[in-house]
């Protein structure tokens, strides 16, 4: 018997934004990369693997891009990855319902001379739009294999991977066709290619020549180290082309490439006139200039209302069950353990699951439907007032789920400055943890109206601080330009698996913190350490904020996980009825403070990763000071209106 050794191969997924690369990646690897119906979710490459036949396949999910210039980091990452790491196969995922735009990118991959297989994805959606694409013709025109897929149903994925293997084994040949530009460009391109031939460059000669003509700084630098003359020749050629066409050379090249893309698209697709479907009507209404705003408000309100109402109901039910389970007589040590560890566990179940699960579910539905880009359209000018543009609303909305991935998704903003302002604004958005605090303190014991009032105040604060940051950081945002994809009924598969993946990561993070934190707190309480902390912080908590002494400890623990602010008193005082611990005003102040006083540890870590520890620390210090200041004022205001 011969034992076949496993062969390792590398496959990269590349293509425009929101075409289904991550959906295919998840299909192949069984992982849970972020999927949703808006462009720009994957911002760093993700790696997974699968075994197929005797192959060990490493799959790389690249960020979605429209071109290979160096104006954005994502484009550079993808370009370098393909040219330098040289994956054995690049799967170019194409959204069949917008073929022409996707071909513009495919042609650039062709120019990079990557070994391409095309996954013609979302054919179901294309068909619904009346678009029919002939795989065979496309394959012939480009000289690469083409496989139709429906990633969210797993259709075509097996064929895709088979075809990857065939290419690797050489059973299927890829003969990349060559795009020819107009004469003025083509002549000069050839001359540059001749000059470049024989030189060792990162990218293939023709691609390098093209990029030189386009004036790509990166490549100019590379070539100028080898031969200064080639760069100056390219500059001269570019000027000539510009003279002839009367527009910048890079613009001429893109135009001509689009002409080819358009020609191929016309050749291979048949478009039957499609009727306006129900979903198109819905699309019209939610983007309507009056109704759109109305519906947006209703949707947002309903989401929060549903969470509040459903969460309260479920939470009460679960905690009742636990109360009855609690043993009657305990020794002191057992008491500590029970209250601490089990209490932490109970807090997690009763607080996290009832609120976080439905919230994530709804958020995922919103995301996968494609509603978020439409909100970006409606709110673009509001976001301008904050120094950002419409796209920034997406991280803000995601921030209501959890600030950590939301800060990460700020990368959809184009410049570092915009990313920073957006991330700063995100840290003021109350995530589920903080919403739990608002619910646990305010909605349960005061009123739903007050809970909503707090959320609105917070929105106003977010707006104000972001505007202040915009005034403080010089620079203008690059304007909004974003592709809008078809609205769709969210796929149950996607919604369930995405919600589950997020929930799982939260539970894995939260359970240990709760249990350890709970135990720690109980021990600190028992040995009197808690009292020391409370006394040290008393001037602030009692004097300035009018809170009970325990608040000092709560706020410390709250910096780790915000829900601990409500979970801890339940553990210490052994009761879910917090109205015996706090007065209504104290509850409001505590909830208000928790919303803004500090980014939690995980958010801090993400901020540090994205912007460095200095910026992360500045933000933290600012928020602590700002939160304390505002809360003190809020407290006095509440006293004044005499709640």
């Amino acid at each position: 018997m011969v034992i076949m050794s496993e062969r390792k191969i590398k496959v990269a997924l590349a293509g425009n934004a929101n075409v289904g690369k991550s959906a295919i990646f998840n299909c192949l690897t069984g992982l849970h990369q972020h999927i949703g119906n808006w462009p720009g979710k994957t911002v760093e490459r993700a790696i997974g693997s699968l075994k197929f036949k005797e192959y060990e396949i490493e799959v790389i999910d690249l960020p979605g891009i429209y071109s290979f210039s160096t104006f954005s980091l994502e484009e550079l990452i993808s370009r370098e990855y393909i040219a330098v790491e040289r994956p054995d196969v690049v799967i170019n995922v194409i959204d069949a319902s917008v073929l022409e735009r996707n071909l513009f990118f495919a042609l650039q991959l062709l120019e990079l001379q990557a070994p391409i297989i095309i996954a013609l994805n979302q054919v179901d959606l294309a068909r619904r739009k009346g678009i029919n694409i002939c795989e065979k013709k496309l394959s012939d025109l480009l000289g690469v294999p083409v496989i139709s897929t429906i990633a969210i149903k797993g259709v075509g994925i097996h064929e895709l991977i088979e075809s990857v293997i065939e290419v690797v084994e050489g059973k299927k040949k890829i003969e990349l066709k060559r795009i020819e530009y107009g004469r003025e460009v083509e002549d000069r391109l050839r001359r540059l290619e001749d000059l470049l031939s024989g030189l060792k460059t990162t990218y293939p000669a023709r691609f390098t020549a093209l990029k030189l003509l386009e004036g790509d700084e990166e490549i100019k630098r590379e070539i100028s180290f080898i031969n200064e003359k080639i760069v100056s020749a390219s500059e001269r050629y570019a000027r000539e082309i510009e003279e002839i066409h009367g527009e910048p050379c890079f613009s001429v090249i893109s135009s001509e490439r689009y002409v080819v893309a358009s020609k191929i698209a016309k050749e291979v697709q048949e478009i039957a006139p499609a009727k306006m479907s129900l979903i198109d009507r819905v699309d019209e209404i939610i983007m309507h200039k009056f109704l759109g705003y109305l519906i947006m408000l209703i949707v947002m309100f309903s989401v929060f209302y549903a969470i509040f109402a459903f969460g309260n109901f479920l939470s009460a039910m679960i905690s009742d069950v636990f109360e009855t389970l609690k043993p009657a007589v305990l020794k002191v040590e057992e008491e500590i353990l029970w209250e601490g560890a089990i209490g932490g566990f109970v807090a997690c179940i009763t607080l996290v699951l009832p609120y976080v699960l439905p919230f994530y579910l709804l958020l995922t539905v919103l995301e996968d439907s494609g509603y978020l880009p439409r909100i970006a359209f409606l709110l673009d000018n509001v976001m301008h007032k904050m120094g950002l543009h419409g796209k920034a609303i997406i991280p803000l909305i995601l921030g209501y789920g959890c600030n950590v991935p939301a800060c990460y998704s700020c990368r959809i903003m184009e410049t570092q400055r915009d990313r920073l302002i957006a991330a700063f604004a995100v840290t003021f958005i109350p995530c589920t943890a903080r919403i739990i605090v608002i619910l646990g303190l305010v909605a349960s014991f005061i009123s739903m109206e007050w809970a909503f009032t707090l959320l609105l105040i917070d929105l106003a604060i977010t707006f104000a601080v972001s505007r202040a940051a915009f005034k403080a950081l010089p620079g203008e945002p690059i304007g909004l330009i974003m592709e809008v994809h078809s609205l769709r009924v969210p796929s149950i598969n996607v919604v369930v698996s995405q919600t589950w993946a997020r929930l799982k990561s939260i539970i894995l993070l939260v359970f240990p913190i709760y249990v350890i934190g709970g135990t720690l707190l109980a021990i600190m309480y028992a040995i009197g350490l808690l009292r020391l902390i409370e006394e040290a912080l008393a001037p602030l908590t009692m004097g300035w904020l009018g809170l009970p002494p325990i608040a000092g400890a709560l706020l410390l623990f709250g910096a780790v996980r915000k829900e601990l602010v409500v979970a801890m008193p339940a553990i210490i005082f052994g009761t879910i009825d917090l109205s015996t611990v706090f007065t209504p005003i104290q509850m409001l102040v505590l909830a208000f403070l928790t919303m803004i006083y500090v980014p939690c540890v995980a958010t801090y870590a993400m901020l540090k990763r994205e912007f460095g520890w200095k910026v992360a620390s500045y933000i933290t210090i600012f928020e602590v000071a700002f939160g304390l200041l505002l809360s003190g004022i809020f407290y006095r205001l509440l006293l004044f209106i005499g709640l």
């Binding site: 104006f71 917008v98 735009r101 025109l141 003025e184 893109s254 080819v260 000018n381």
Partner: protein
């Protein structure tokens, strides 16, 4: 005032382009780029003062053909890479209220473009 200046500049730019533009050879090779034909043919009757409008000035439902994009290199490159190249047909689908962005149909896909960017794209109205 700013917009009028932009238009004049636009006109001068376009005229200079027209004077210099030379005939292009066209062949029917399959992956060969040809200049969008409508542009040169229709040029004479279209180049008249006032023929250009900024994309943002179109009304909902209007169709137009892109003439050129003005602005900083990075911005032009982005717009062009998103498919707003010379000779391309665009149709305005929606305009957001309160000076918001517009939504256009271009190359069979929908794009949202903010007001500032859309005022850098100059087009010629189509009937």
């Amino acid at each position: 005032m700013k917009r009028v200046g932009g238009k004049l500049k636009a006109l001068a730019y376009f005229l200079s382009r027209y004077r210099r533009s030379c005939a292009r050879r066209r062949e029917g090779v399959s992956l060969k780029a040809e200049a969008p034909s409508t542009l040169d043919e229709g040029l004479e009757k279209r180049v008249e003062p006032g023929g250009f409008v900024a994309l943002i000035d179109l009304r909902v439902g209007e169709r137009a053909e892109i003439s050129f994009v003005e602005g900083a290199r990075a911005i032009v490159k982005r717009l062009v890479d998103m498919g707003l190249t010379r000779g391309t047909e665009v149709k305005v689908l929606k305009v957001a209220p309160f000076n918001g962005p517009i939504e256009v149909l271009v190359r069979g896909s929908r794009l949202i473009i903010s007001r500032e960017l859309a005022s850098k794209v100059f087009v010629i109205r189509k009937d």
